[in-house]
């Protein structure tokens, strides 16, 4: 933890986005995480994505649980709304907040411990409801905050810092999400912003639950030899499938001359995501083949990254419920509280 705060002075010619803000306007407080923590790098990617999308911080709500990862919303988008919930309960808070005000953008930040152990049930149900939010699962294979115990995402046989091997097989959050019907699933690496930033932008523009499983090394407790979530191991074993190239609503498509097939999917808000397949055998819109592809490479120890699965015609929670467009706080009192007579009529239905 640094003793000084990051000085406000910056490069005088810093680019400004469409709403006139610089990247520095997307910062939060100074991080108190360990130097070199992958989570800080993910925060930087989040700031970059919101900056590039020109979303004003006050249009965003940040929610999180408990863990080093869950601390990070303090370190980005200082001007956003936020709620730091109890361990594993972020999905409920997000669901409730989203139900009350669908005008805000929701970003949930969680860890592998927070989401896959204590919060697994909540995680599953937020997916099932298709809450319109970006769910960042900052995955380091350990409980960082409580000093590095294996989490449920740790690979079987991977070594703890002191050398003990993990005895259990891992939960793969991406596979789990796809099988639960998640409508947008991606995986990336904190140490590769070129891929992470466009993926975050695409996920933000998705209508419905978008899960990003980000391998985000715990530099203090899980970056040693024998770890399968270290910087070096992740770089060696990453296998990119589909590179998501986010194209804004009004932006020109700049065709990149690169190998592989290129196609586009149009997101709910009219923006497009260009999908460049690095591996031709992979189809990110086909659930069954996606699952088997990920399974196949997982067995060989590879970390499949990219936009793994996307369902264009996703219906989020509000469409299913038919709820009001406005935030509840904007509804007139009579509508929010139709009165005793209305209550009686409702109760009469079950008599």
């Amino acid at each position: 933890m640094s003793y000084i705060t990051k000085p406000a002075i910056t490069h005088p010619d810093l680019p400004r986005n469409a709403v006139g803000l610089t990247l520095r306007d997307y910062e939060g407080s100074m991080s108190t995480l360990c130097a070199g923590c992958g989570h800080d790098s993910v925060s930087a990617a989040i700031m970059q994505a919101y900056f590039e999308l020109a979303i004003e911080p006050h249009r965003v709500a940040k929610v999180s649980g408990i863990g080093c990862s869950s601390k990070t919303p303090t370190y980005f988008l200082g001007g956003a709304h936020g709620f730091n919930s109890v361990h594993g309960r972020m999905p409920s808070i997000a669901t409730g907040a989203n139900a009350a005000n669908r005008q805000l953008q929701y970003i949930g930040v969680s860890g592998d411990g927070d989401s896959l152990s204590i919060g697994l049930g909540q995680f599953a149900h937020a997916i099932r409801r298709n809450v319109n939010m970006l769910y960042m699962l900052e995955n380091n294979g350990v409980y960082g905050l409580t000093k590095g115990q294996f989490s449920a995402s740790a690979d079987k046989g991977s070594k703890a810092k002191k050398g003990d091997a993990n005895a259990y097989s891992p939960i793969d959050p991406a596979l789990l999400a796809i099988s639960l019907g998640c409508t947008f699933v991606g995986r990336s690496f904190s140490g590769d912003k070129e891929h992470l930033v466009p993926l975050i932008k695409s996920a933000i523009s998705h209508s419905g639950f978008a899960l990003l499983d980000i391998i985000s090394p715990c530099v203090t407790f899980n970056d040693h030899e024998g770890s399968t979530k270290s910087y070096a191991h992740t770089r060696e074993h990453m296998r990119e499938t589909v590179y998501a190239d986010f194209v804004g609503q009004h932006e020109e498509i700049v065709t990149r001359v690169e190998p592989g097939e290129y196609r586009q999917v149009t997101m709910h808000d009219g923006s497009r995501v260009g999908l460049r397949r690095v591996d031709d055998t992979y189809d990110p819109t086909d659930r069954i083949s996606a699952i088997s592809y990920i399974e196949k490479y997982r067995a060989g120890g590879a970390v499949v990254t990219g936009l793994l699965y996307v369902e264009e015609s996703s219906e989020d929670m509000h469409s299913t419920l038919g709820s009001a467009e406005q935030a509840m706080s904007d509804l007139p009192y009579e509508k929010l509280n139709p009165g005793a007579e209305a209550l009686k009529r409702i109760q009469a239905r079950w008599r």
Binding site: K6, P7, I9, P12, L14, C37, S190, G191, Y231
Partner: protein
């Protein structure tokens, strides 16, 4: 790009913009830290090492360090480097016992012609080595233009006397009122080497109709000299100063103190094309001098031997797209009445006392051809420095010339090749004190530049000797020192330790750091996190990083040396290390040029 060779002393030297910009390479951030710690004597000595006249320069230096200062690119105003130098000089203890005494005589005799700052520096550097030094000066006081031309309201005589005495009293044979009239004769006196520091003594004249019809038309530097020696004590109420350089500023402000009421400075060109330093203009305008632009002098109007005024062509310029002036267009002729005119349009070298048949080559400006490194000329053992070498510059350049010439003289007397120069060196020392603690003040202080306090306008004209600037008070000093970014505390990178977690590039407040694929410089500059459009500022490029083979690139332009990159680095790949440039001087104990004789 090739990986940067940061073991080349120039690499880190360039990062310290002020020091790189200073002709004498004064270690500015170091002395600013010494002031911050209350070590004014240390700060004075640090200055004196390279610039010899800190009290003088803390007041009147041309301060090329300030436009170079990194702080100026970040929040518009540079650190008040020069003002802080004066703080060190004002508050330093007597340092006499800290200077090396004249060494035991080595039997070599050196003649210096002229007692200006260049010659005095040569004496300062050679005295401890045991040389017998004779300075010949035509005037009855030493100091050169520092005494005769820089007015005492900018530079009090006591300050000048003090710093000259620090040199002379250690055993220089200073011969005042002794003009050297013949180089041949001087060489015949058997000196082992001769240093010429006679300055650029001839003020330019303006041959226009009426020029020689009145005695109220003065040449600026001659007029200032006669003011300095109290030969001139008054001037008419209406004064026109021709030219808008620093000499003009001294002339107009001096005129105001000798009875001038309406003093105007006439410039041929518009503002922005003036030669005077911004601060000198500011000080003159504060004193209500009017500066008239686009006036080209035409004639002196003298009636019955009395100067009535001058006529000028009023000009118009267009400014071209690339910010150049078009050829002027004459709008009208105007007449400006006056009692005196002072011509302040430049100086030339003049060497009437050097015979042209002694084997010294003179160039098209009738000045000797002087070698820029050794300061030698065709005649072995003769060296030039200061304004006499390459035309009028300033004090700090003259001092640097003096240092270089002293090295040459020392080598020459030892029979060594003077073209082989001692090399500069560089020391690096980590400033790490704890996990996130450094031995320098790394937090950015957003204070604005402190403004110099001046003597009230109602007071300052009473006597030409009243120094206008009051210096910084303790509160101003305490603030200003914190504005310095400590650019000498360098970000030193070790590629083999980098795990590419991006922490440093994410935390950097000014986005100087980027990890990217390597390519040529032009391309690389387009790939950096923030615009890297200042091509004068270097890029650091690391060796290939172990995990991906990419490189770490740092654009040095706007780094605020906050150390956050090093604080956020988990592996210690970045460290904040204080660089100290080792500048060779003639006096260096370990210097390569050691005299064996005497």
């Amino acid at each position: 790009m090739k990986p940067t060779n940061s073991s080349d002393p120039d690499h880190f030297h360039r990062v310290v913009d002020c020091q790189w910009g200073c002709p004498a390479h004064t270690d500015v951030p170091r002395y600013i830290r010494q002031i911050a710690q209350g070590d004014f004597t240390g700060a004075y000595l640090e200055n004196r090492k390279s610039n010899v006249f800190p009290g003088v320069l803390g007041r009147v230096c041309d301060r090329p360090c300030e436009p170079a200062c990194r702080r100026g690119r970040l929040d518009e105003t540079p650190v008040a480097i020069c003002r802080l130098k004066r703080v060190a000089a004002d508050l330093s203890d007597d340092i006499r016992d800290k200077l090396p005494p004249k060494g035991p005589s080595n039997g070599k005799r050196i003649a210096c012609v002229g007692a200006g700052c260049a010659s005095l520096t040569v004496a300062n550097d050679l005295l401890p080595l045991g040389y017998d030094i004779t300075i010949f000066e035509q005037h009855d006081k030493p100091g050169g233009l520092m005494r005769t031309n820089i007015p005492s309201f900018r530079l009090p005589a006591e300050v000048l006397d003090d710093e000259i005495n620090l040199i002379v009293e250690r055993g220089v044979d200073l011969r005042l009122n002794t003009a050297v009239t013949s180089m041949t004769e001087l060489l015949d006196e058997g000196f082992d080497a001769v240093f010429v520091g006679t300055g650029a003594p001839r003020g330019k004249d303006l041959e226009l109709p009426g020029r020689h019809d009145s005695d109220r038309i003065h040449i600026g530097i001659d007029w200032l000299e006669s003011v300095a020696f109290d030969h001139t004590e008054e001037i008419g109420e209406n004064v026109l100063i021709i030219g808008v350089g620093n000499t003009a500023m001294d002339c107009c402000r001096s005129a105001l103190r000798l009875g001038g009421k309406n003093v105007s400075v006439l410039a041929r060109k518009p503002r922005g094309w003036f030669k005077a330093s911004a601060w000198e203009l500011e000080d003159a305008e504060e004193e209500d001098v009017s500066i008239l632009i686009n006036h080209s002098p035409k004639a002196f109007i003298v009636e019955d031997g009395v100067l009535k005024g001058m006529t000028f062509d009023k000009l118009h310029y267009d400014i071209t797209d690339n910010n150049k002036l078009s050829k002027p267009q004459v709008l009208e002729e105007v007449f400006l009445p006056c009692d005196d005119v002072i011509l302040a349009i430049g100086q030339d070298n003049a060497f009437p006392w050097i015979e042209r048949d002694i084997g010294m080559r003179f160039n098209q400006y009738d000045a000797p051809d002087v070698d820029e490194v050794t300061h030698g000329v065709e005649v072995p053992g003769v060296f030039f420095g200061g304004d006499s070498a390459f035309g009028p510059k300033n004090i700090i350049w003259a001092v640097e010339h003096g240092h270089r010439a002293a090295i040459s003289i020392h080598k020459y007397c030892a029979g060594e090749d003077i073209t082989e120069r001692p090399a500069r060196g560089m020391n690096l020392l980590s400033t790490k004190m704890g996990i996130h603690e450094w031995s320098y003040s790394n937090d950015f202080d957003d204070s604005e530049r402190r403004q110099m306090r001046h003597v009230e306008l109602t007071e300052r004209f009473k006597n030409i000797r009243i120094e206008v600037e009051l210096g910084f008070d303790p509160e101003q000093t305490a603030r200003e020192v914190e504005r310095c970014l400590n650019c000498d505390v360098q970000t030193v990178f070790s590629a083999k330790d980098c795990i590419e977690c991006d922490a440093c590039m994410d935390v950097c407040p000014v986005y100087c750091l980027t990890i990217t694929d390597n390519c040529d410089e032009a391309d690389l500059r387009t790939r950096l996190r923030a615009p890297a459009s200042n091509a004068e500022q270097i890029l650091f490029v690391s060796d290939a990083l172990p995990q991906t083979g990419k490189v770490m690139v740092k654009d040095e332009n706007l780094c605020i040396h906050c150390g956050l990159c090093a604080e956020r680095c988990p592996t210690g790949a970045w460290d904040m290390r204080k660089s100290q440039l080792i500048i060779p001087y003639a006096t260096d104990k370990e210097g390569r040029c050691q005299l064996t004789t005497g």
